[in-house]
C-alpha cells in the first residue's frame, strides 16, 4: 500500500518539469534568429499561464493513479466491512439508544447520531447476500430488525431509530445480537457494538464484538436529577453525578422560583439526596440544576403530583404471620426486601372507606377471617380503580363471622384442609420464571380448598400437584384480585421461605405498579393498562402510542413505553392522571468500560475502515485524461488558426 501511495510522489515530476520550463520555452534552431525581436517578459508570462492547467491535470492524474494502485487498502474515516475472500457477512448492529448516548461526543455531535451514522456507513458497505440484524441496547434490549438480507428493510429500520432516555442493557443487547445471527448460514459473523460502553462489563463470546467507535467511550462530566418526590411541603430530590468535578459548584432549585435559595450539591460523585421547601404557588413544579454539563436534558426534572413511592397495604396478624424469631410479619419483611422504594403501610383491619386506599396500589391480606360488607365495598372500589388485592388464605377462612364473606376474592364457603398435602405444580407456575422450581418438596400442613368455591369469573393461574387451585386471578375493573390457597405464615408450611414466594410477591408488585401506574418511573419501563380501558398519553414529544400485547399469564392488555424523561399526561377512561418519567441513575454513575479484548476476527473487522474507491477514481482519471486530450486538441486548433492567419 505504501509503495503504491509512494507513486504519488511522482506528482513532483511534472511540477519539477514545470518549474524548469516555466518562463523558458524549448530552444530551437532558427537561422534568421538575428531578425527576430526579443519579447522575453511576454513569452514567460504566456508560458506560465498555458502550462498551469496542464500541470494541474497531470499532477491530479498521477495522484489518482497512485490512489487507485493503493485501493482497496487506502483508509479513510468511513467505516466499511472487511471481507475475507469477498464472502458474504452476517453482522448484528447493536445501537445503543440509552440516555448517555444523548451526550455530545468527543468530536462534537451527539453520540447517538454518530452511532447511527456509523451504522449507515456499515450498511452502505453491505452487499447483496449480507445478513443484517439491528439490536437496540437501551433497556430492555430489543430486536429492531431480525437478521435479514433485505438491505432496504435494514435502511428503513435504521431510519426509524430515535434517541431515548432508557438505561443501558449492553449485556442483554450483545446476547440478543449473537442470538439473532446465530441461525443464518453465513460463515463470517460479527457483532458491531456502537455504544459508549457505559454499562455492565461484556463477556467474551462468539461472534466477537467489534467496537468501531471507541471514541464514544470517553467519560462525561454530568449531573442529573433522576427523581423528585413530594413529602408534604418538602421535596426530596435525587441527584446523580459522574464525578466530584461534575458536582462542584452546582445547585438545585425550582424552575421559576424567585425567592427560594438553591441547594448546593455536595461535590462528590454518585447519588445524593437533597431536600427543598416547596412553594405551593408553583404550578407544575419542576426542579433544575444550575450550570452546564455534557447532558443538559437531564438537568431538569418535573415533580410528581403525589408521592412516587408505590403504596402497599399489608393486613397481617403479627401473632400468626410473623417468624418465630420475631419482627414484623413475613409479608412486610418480604416486601421490604424486594423493593425499598415502596411505602409500606401495615393495617390491622381492612379500610371501610375507599379513600383510605388512595395512596396505595397493592393490598396484601394474610389469612383473612372474612370481609365485612363495608370493607368489601371499599375494597371493590379500590380494585376497580386499578388496585391489586391479594389474599393469602389460611385456617381462619373457616372462622368467618356472620355477615362476612371472602368476596370479592371468592364466593362461597372455603374450607381449610389441615393435612399434609402435596407440592405445588411447578409447571403451572412456569410463567413465574426459574423460581417456580423451588415450589417442589414443600412441607405443607394444610391449604384452603378452593375447588368447591365460585371463583366469580376468575381463572386459575397455578395448581397444586393434585390439580386443586393454588393461585387464582379475577379481573375487576382496572384492577385484579389474586387468591393464594396458602397463608404467608411459616407455621403452615415452608412456602414463605421459598424463592418462589418472593417471586410471587414481585409479580404482585409488578401488577400493582403497571395497573395503578407509579407516579414516577424510569424511562423504558412499560406502563400497562387493562384491555378494556380507554387510554391516551401525551408525552414531552407528543402522543405516546398505546398498543395491545399478550401477557405471560395469558390474557392481553394495553401497554405503552415512555422512552423519554419528562412529564406525561394520561387519560384513562376519561380520568386524567399525571406521571413523571426519569432517567435511571445508573445511566449517570456508570462510567464507560474499556472495550472488550479484541479477538483476531474482530481485529480483522477493525481493520475494515477501508474503502474501495477504485471505480470512482478510475472515472476521475479517465476524465482527467480526456480533459488533457481536449486541451491539447484545442491548442493545436488554435495554433493552426494562428498560423493560417499569419500566412
Amino acid at each position: 500500500m505504501l509503495g503504491a501511495l509512494g507513486v504519488g510522489l511522482f506528482v513532483a515530476i511534472p511540477i519539477a518539469a514545470h518549474l524548469l520550463r516555466r518562463g523558458r520555452a524549448r530552444e530551437r534552431d532558427f537561422p534568421p534568429t538575428a531578425l527576430v525581436p526579443a519579447a522575453r517578459s511576454v513569452a514567460r508570462e504566456r508560458a506560465t499561464l498555458e502550462d498551469r492547467l496542464l500541470l494541474a491535470i497531470r499532477a491530479l492524474l498521477i495522484a489518482c493513479l497512485a490512489v487507485i494502485g493503493a485501493t482497496p487498502f487506502v483508509s479513510c474515516s468511513r467505516l466499511s466491512l472487511n471481507r475475507s475472500a469477498g464472502a458474504s457477512v452476517a453482522f448484528a448492529l447493536v445501537v445503543d439508544d440509552s440516555h448517555s448516548m444523548r451526550a455530545q461526543g468527543a468530536q462534537g455531535g451527539v453520540r447517538f447520531e454518530r452511532a447511527l451514522g456509523a451504522a449507515r456507513e456499515l450498511l452502505a458497505s453491505a452487499r447483496e447476500g449480507d445478513a443484517i440484524a439491528i439490536v437496540l441496547a437501551g433497556k430492555p434490549a430489543r430486536l429492531a430488525l431480525a437478521a435479514t438480507t433485505d438491505l432496504n428493510a435494514a435502511r428503513r429500520a435504521l431510519g426509524d431509530l430515535s434517541e431515548s432516555d432508557r438505561s443501558t442493557d449492553l449485556e442483554g443487547a450483545v446476547s440478543l445480537a449473537r442470538t439473532s445471527i446465530a441461525s443464518v448460514p453465513h460463515h463470517d459473523k460479527r457483532v458491531v457494538l456502537l455504544s459508549d460502553l457505559a454499562g455492565a462489563a461484556l463477556s467474551e463470546g462468539q461472534p466477537p464484538i467489534w467496537t468501531p467507535l471507541p471514541e464514544l467511550a470517553t467519560p462525561l462530566e454530568n449531573c442529573a436529577i433522576f427523581g423528585a418526590e413530594q413529602r408534604g411541603r418538602r421535596v426530596l430530590a435525587h441527584v446523580a453525578c459522574t464525578s466530584p468535578a461534575a458536582a462542584a459548584g452546582r445547585a438545585l432549585s425550582f424552575v421559576g422560583e424567585k425567592n427560594g435559595s438553591p441547594v448546593p450539591l455536595t461535590p462528590r460523585g454518585g447519588i445524593q439526596e437533597l431536600g427543598l421547601d416547596l412553594d405551593p404557588k408553583l404550578e407544575h413544579p419542576e426542579l433544575q440544576l444550575n450550570g452546564g454539563d455534557a447532558l443538559k436534558g437531564d438537568d431538569r426534572c418535573p415533580l410528581a403530583a403525589e408521592s412516587a413511592a408505590l403504596g402497599v397495604l399489608v393486613a397481617a396478624d403479627a401473632s400468626n404471620a410473623s417468624a418465630k424469631t420475631g419482627g414484623p410479619p413475613v409479608l412486610e419483611q418480604a416486601i421490604g426486601a424486594l423493593e425499598t422504594s415502596t411505602a409500606l403501610h401495615p393495617i390491622a383491619l381492612l379500610p371501610d372507606d375507599a379513600n383510605e386506599y388512595r395512596s396505595s396500589a397493592l393490598l396484601l391480606l394474610d389469612d383473612p377471617g372474612g370481609i365485612t360488607p363495608e370493607a368489601r365495598s371499599a375494597l371493590t372500589a379500590f380494585v376497580e380503580r386499578g388496585g391489586v388485592a391479594v389474599a393469602f388464605l389460611g385456617p381462619r377462612v373457616e372462622q368467618t363471622p356472620l355477615g362476612a364473606t371472602l368476596e370479592p376474592f371468592v364466593h362461597g364457603a372455603v374450607h381449610w384442609e389441615a393435612k399434609d398435602i402435596g407440592d405445588v405444580n411447578a409447571a403451572s407456575l412456569a410463567w413465574l420464571g426459574p423460581e417456580a422450581a423451588s415450589m417442589q418438596d414443600l412441607k405443607l400442613r394444610g391449604r384452603a380448598g378452593l375447588s368447591t368455591t365460585d371463583l366469580l369469573g376468575g381463572r386459575i393461574l397455578a395448581t397444586f400437584s393434585d390439580g386443586q387451585p393454588f393461585l387464582t386471578q379475577r379481573e375487576l375493573g382496572r384492577g385484579a384480585l389474586f387468591t393464594v390457597a396458602l397463608p404467608s405464615s411459616v407455621e403452615h408450611g415452608n412456602f414463605p421461605l421459598r424463592p418462589a414466594f418472593l417471586a410471587l410477591l414481585d409479580f404482585f408488585l409488578s401488577e400493582a405498579r403497571t395497573r395503578r401506574g407509579a407516579a414516577q418511573s424510569v424511562a423504558g419501563s412499560e406502563w400497562t393498562f387493562s384491555l378494556g380501558a380507554s387510554v391516551s398519553i401525551e408525552g414531552p414529544r407528543g402522543a405516546l402510542a398505546v398498543h395491545e400485547r399478550a401477557r405471560a399469564t395469558g390474557n392481553a392488555q394495553k401497554a405503552a413505553t415512555p422512552t423519554l424523561a419528562g412529564r406525561y399526561a394520561l387519560r384513562i377512561d376519561d380520568k386524567p392522571e399525571e406521571r413523571v418519567v426519569t432517567v435511571d441513575p445508573s445511566e449517570i454513575t456508570t462510567l464507560p468500560q474499556k472495550p472488550p479484548e479484541t479477538s483476531a476476527q474482530a481485529r480483522a473487522s477493525a481493520n475494515a475502515g477501508s474503502v474501495d474507491a477504485s471505480p470512482e477514481l478510475g472515472f476521475v482519471a479517465l476524465a482527467l485524461l480526456a480533459l488533457e486530450l481536449a486541451l491539447r486538441v484545442f491548442r493545436r486548433l488554435t495554433r493552426e488558426r494562428t498560423v493560417a492567419a499569419a500566412t
Binding site: R28, A39, V643
Partner: protein, 301 residues
C-alpha cells in the same frame, strides 16, 4: 558538432541526380529555344577591324555608309559558361517542419537542374562554394560528364562552417568564380543570404561586373518565410551566437518586416551591379523555381 547534426536532411529531394534530370526535363517541356540552332549567325554587335580579322565578317554596309572598317560579331563567339556558387554554410542545413528537405538540398537540386540544362544547351559549367566541408570545386567543363561531376560534388558536400565573421573566406570564393567566369558568362549564386559576414553584399555583387550575368537565388525554408510559430519561443541561430527569447505572435510582424527589408536591400545592391535577386522557398515546385532563375538570368535557357 555531432555527426548526427552534421548529416544533411535531403528529405524528399533525394536522389539528387534523378530529381535534377526530372526538373530539367520539366523545364524543357515548358518550352525553350535552342541556342545551337542559331549559333554563329545571330548578330552580337560590332567592333573596329583589327588586322587579322576574318574578312568575311567586315561589315560592308557600315564601310559604304561610314567609310569605317567594322567587324560584325556573333553570339557564338561569347563565353556562355554557367558558374554556380553554392552556399554550404551551416544555416543551409536547416529544414523546418513543412519543408521537403534542407535548404542546401533544395539549392543543390536547383544547381544540378541548371547544370543539366546548361550542359544540354552545350554550355560549360563550373562549381564553387563558400562554407561547407568536403566541398569539391569544379573547373569549367562541358558535356555529360560535367553534369555527373557537378551532381557528385553537390552530393558530397556537407553544410558546415560559420561564415558570420569570415569575410575572407567568402571573398576567396568570389575570386575563384571571377577567375573562371569570363565576359558573358552567367553566375548563379544559391544561398539563404543569412548569417553572412559584413561586406558579403559587396563581395557577391562584384560578380555581376565585367559583362557577367549575376543572379542570386535566395533559398529559404518555409518556416523562415512564414514564421508559423506560436507561443513562447527560444530561438538559436545556427551561425554566430544569436539567441532570442520571444513570443511568436508578438515577434512575427517585426520579423517578416525585417526579412523583407533585408531582401530589399540585397535586391537593390545587386541591381546596382547588374545582378538580380530571386526569392525561392524550399517548399516551392523545383521546376518553377528553376524557371524563375532562368527568367532572371535572361536568355540562358
Amino acid at each position: 558538432m555531432s555527426e548526427l547534426r552534421k548529416a544533411l536532411d535531403w528529405g524528399k529531394l533525394a536522389p539528387l541526380r534523378l530529381r535534377a534530370k526530372t526538373v530539367a526535363d520539366g523545364v524543357y517541356a515548358g518550352g525553350h529555344r535552342s541556342r545551337r540552332r542559331g549559333a554563329g549567325i545571330e548578330f552580337g554587335g560590332q567592333r573596329s577591324y583589327v588586322p587579322g580579322d576574318d574578312l568575311r565578317f567586315i561589315d560592308r554596309h557600315a564601310l559604304l555608309r561610314h567609310g569605317t572598317l567594322l567587324v560584325r560579331q556573333f553570339e557564338t563567339e561569347t563565353d556562355r559558361t554557367l558558374c554556380l556558387l553554392v552556399d554550404a554554410s551551416l544555416s543551409m542545413s536547416y529544414r523546418g517542419e513543412d519543408a521537403p528537405g534542407a535548404k542546401y538540398a533544395f539549392a543543390a537540386l536547383i544547381a544540378a537542374a541548371l547544370c543539366k540544362i546548361a550542359v544540354g544547351a552545350g554550355d560549360r559549367v563550373s562549381l564553387d562554394w563558400f562554407g561547407g566541408e568536403r566541398t569539391i570545386e569544379l573547373a569549367t567543363a562541358g558535356g555529360r560528364e560535367a553534369f555527373e561531376r557537378v551532381v557528385g560534388a553537390l552530393e558530397t558536400a556537407q553544410p558546415s562552417a560559420d561564415l558570420k565573421s569570415d569575410l575572407p573566406a567568402l571573398e576567396r570564393a568570389v575570386a575563384r568564380v571571377e577567375r573562371r567566369a569570363g565576359r558573358g558568362s552567367t553566375v548563379v549564386v544559391l544561398s539563404d543570404l543569412l548569417d553572412l559576414p559584413e561586406g558579403a553584399e559587396v563581395a557577391l555583387g562584384s560578380l555581376g561586373a565585367r559583362g557577367k550575368t549575376l543572379t542570386v537565388a535566395r533559398v529559404l525554408d518555409p518556416s523562415e518565410v512564414n514564421f508559423p510559430f506560436t507561443g513562447p519561443l527560444h530561438l538559436r541561430a545556427l551561425e554566430g551566437e544569436a539567441r532570442v527569447e520571444t513570443d511568436a505572435a508578438a515577434a512575427r510582424p517585426q520579423y517578416l518586416a525585417a526579412l523583407e527589408a533585408q531582401a530589399q536591400r540585397w535586391s537593390e545592391r545587386l541591381l546596382s551591379r547588374g545582378g538580380s535577386l530571386v526569392l525561392l522557398s524550399s517548399a516551392d515546385d523545383p521546376v518553377k523555381a528553376v524557371r524563375k532563375v532562368l527568367d532572371s538570368v535572361g536568355g540562358f535557357a
